[in-house]
Symmetry: C2
């Protein structure tokens, strides 16, 4: 470990990474406490993170770019399915829906909804965050059709909604107290695969 100065080096990651993290964390804290993506300001984020506004603008061109990175951090990376069978991959993907590691997500994500519906720029931001997850599921379904595991005439976008919707309303809204979110992924996948009509 070499250092150009005699000052003790702070432990852990370099200062610039810690500043980035502090800014992202401050953004998420403010959103979880009730700021909306419309009302939150770079000033308030800077104050909360203990940095100057210039520090934020050196790293992000504007508020929306920062919000995008903060919300991506909150959501984490999309899960990567193992690719052994469509059923197994879908259970992996459906299990990850609404399964946020960060408890602030449960407060932030639902209230994004009214905002993104009235502001096209915010809607684009929201789609940038959830789009990559949809893309992973779309690929699994396409592969299933290609390999003959799924119906050739499958409407893939509709199937994605059939797989995602149940978990999202149960995990995010606690929609039905008679459903257990931990066993729901496997049940949804199996019932979506088999259909509910009598043979």
């Amino acid at each position: 470990m070499t250092s150009g100065t005699d000052a003790p080096r702070p432990p852990g990651r370099p200062r610039s990474v810690r500043a980035d993290e502090a800014i992202v964390e401050a953004t998420l804290d403010l959103l979880a406490e009730g700021s909306t993506i419309e009302t939150i300001s770079v000033e308030a984020i800077a104050a909360r993170a203990g940095v100057g506004k210039a520090t934020i603008y050196r790293r992000w061109p504007g508020k929306n770019a920062l919000l995008h990175d903060a919300l991506r951090t909150l959501k984490g990376d999309p899960p990567q399915p193992a690719g052994r069978s469509v059923r197994e991959d879908l259970i992996t993907l459906v299990s990850a829906i609404g399964q946020h590691i960060d408890p602030r997500a449960a407060k932030i994500m639902p209230c994004l909804v009214p905002v993104v519906k009235r502001d096209p720029e915010q809607y684009a931001l929201y789609q940038n965050i959830i789009g990559p997850r949809r893309a992973v599921m779309r690929e699994v379904l396409r592969r299933g059709v290609h390999d003959g595991e799924l119906r050739a005439d499958l409407d893939i976008e509709v199937a994605m909604a059939m797989l995602t919707g149940p978990m999202l309303i149960q995990r995010v809204m606690n929609w039905n107290p008679d459903l257990d979110a931990t066993t729901l992924p496997e049940k949804v996948v199996d019932q979506v695969l088999a259909g509910i009509a009598a043979r």
Copy 2:
């Protein structure tokens, strides 16, 4: 029309009904403008409605009872399916999901979510509002199993989530820009009935 006084009778419904409506409307306006079911107060509702607090407490035992009635008014009555076939009834019910006549609902309902998840009393209120709609769909599915249109081993609660989830995330969250909410009910019902697996 007889009246005990010489004062001109206001047109339309009696005064007490108009006061009830004004109170309910004031509650919904405040919620749509950003009050939450936790932060909204009987004082604020009374001021907005132009009535005294005593007028509210004469009609409702407390804030939660008023919120319950206001949110029920917002949601409207559950749709009544015609009962000709399971497919037709499910399309009727799925089409009604997230189809609020009142535009305030789109602002109020999503932000209920974080509140109802941390407060059991508010969760009960929320379930009182959405429960009757689930009950109508459950009855259609039970009838379908009984009549042999649906699989005998159907998991009805899971099927309800498969039918409701796609419409709810699309109508409430604009989840996927590549899905058309107007054609989605029929597509979801048909694909849920048939399943997505190859035969």
